[in-house]
């Protein structure tokens, strides 16, 4: 398979739509329990020891809403590149936070994927998973044409025709 064919495949609208639905859906799903229990999420954030304790509650309150809104926007196509950028940034942040926790030997719950649903210790597998999800988010960033709805093209071309 040539590089051009790989690029064409990665930039295919169906691939873009799948990436949007996957990333957006995951963030919508995982934000829900955090929204319900900001106090518990703040504790998980505290466990990473990378945010000043003064700010732990603030992060616990605001971060789930950023995840939810960006996830919804990505799924339904409102400023999708900006939404993908936010979610890719969050994933990168999670990877860095997890890596720092590892090298400091912190034995903590990850607070990711299914928070508060049991004992999900921070594991290398989770960092790999976050890295893969980041690639999906990057697909949306790098191939913007994949999420431009066709009707906009049609509307634009009709407008161009009427102007002419």
């Amino acid at each position: 398979m040539t590089a051009a064919r790989v690029r064409a495949t990665l930039g295919h609208p169906v691939v873009g739509a799948c990436c949007r639905l996957l990333i957006g859906g995951i963030f919508i799903y995982t934000s829900y329990p955090k929204l319900l229990r900001p106090d518990e999420f703040a504790r998980l954030v505290y466990g990473y020891r990378i945010i000043h304790p003064d700010l732990v509650n603030l992060v616990g309150i605001t971060l789930p809403w950023v995840e939810l809104v960006a996830g919804i926007f990505l799924v339904i196509g409102i400023i999708p590149r900006s939404s993908a950028l936010v979610l890719a940034g969050l994933l990168a942040l999670f990877i860095v936070a997890g890596f720092l926790a590892f090298i400091r030997g912190l034995d903590i719950n990850c607070g990711c994927f299914f928070p508060f649903m049991g004992d999900h210790k921070l594991d290398w597998d989770l960092l790999v998973r976050d890295a893969i999800l980041t690639l999906f988010a990057l697909q949306v960033l790098l191939w913007p044409s994949s999420f431009v709805p066709k009707r906009n093209h049609n509307r634009a071309s009709r407008r161009g025709a009427s102007n002419a």
Binding site: R37, D39, V45, Y46, N57, S82, I108
Partner: protein, 159 residues
């Protein structure tokens, strides 16, 4: 794209702050410092009292409280507060009937898990409050603080 991302983050965060203000589960924007050991912690739910390490050690020495270990059973077996009963947060319904009599007899109940970042002790405390136990406290600094302070430790699956 970057402006849109910034607007999204700021708008969503503002929405979160507003919802938090009107939500019954809302928490203060800044952390609180619970107890004399000054461990900075996120906020406990309003209905649950917190105890610090000094209070926990004092209650243990004076035997004025029943300790409940909300961690998974394998963590309990590796080491726990002497006399503490195992009541894992995610197996509450399986474990509670076996220790219900002991819990009902206790004049004071202190629940703990790993440390400040874990919520298992809060889960257990909330379930006990639902069952009508009003004298329930959470030892927020938890097992880690207990062990690091040199508090007595007991090993094994049984109390």
């Amino acid at each position: 794209m970057i402006v849109g991302a910034l607007a999204l983050v700021i708008g969503s965060a503002a929405l979160g702050v507003v919802v938090n203000e009107i939500s019954p589960r809302g928490i203060p924007l800044l952390f609180t410092t619970a107890g004399a050991d000054s461990t900075p912690t996120p906020t406990l739910p309003k209905e649950i009292r917190g105890v610090d390490l000094r209070d926990a050690l004092s209650a243990f020495d004076e035997q004025t409280a029943l300790f409940l270990d909300a961690r998974p059973p394998e963590d309990y077996a590796e080491g726990h507060v002497p006399g503490a009963l195992s009541l894992p947060a995610y197996e509450f319904d399986d474990y509670f009937p076996e220790i219900a009599d002991r819990v009902e007899e206790a004049s004071r109940i202190i629940v703990y898990c790993d440390g400040v970042e874990c919520s298992d002790s809060i889960h257990v405390a909330e379930r006990l409050l639902e069952y009508g136990f009003s004298h329930v406290s959470v030892f927020e600094s938890g097992w880690r603080a207990w062990a690091e302070s040199g508090g007595p430790v007991e090993e094994g699956a049984e109390p």
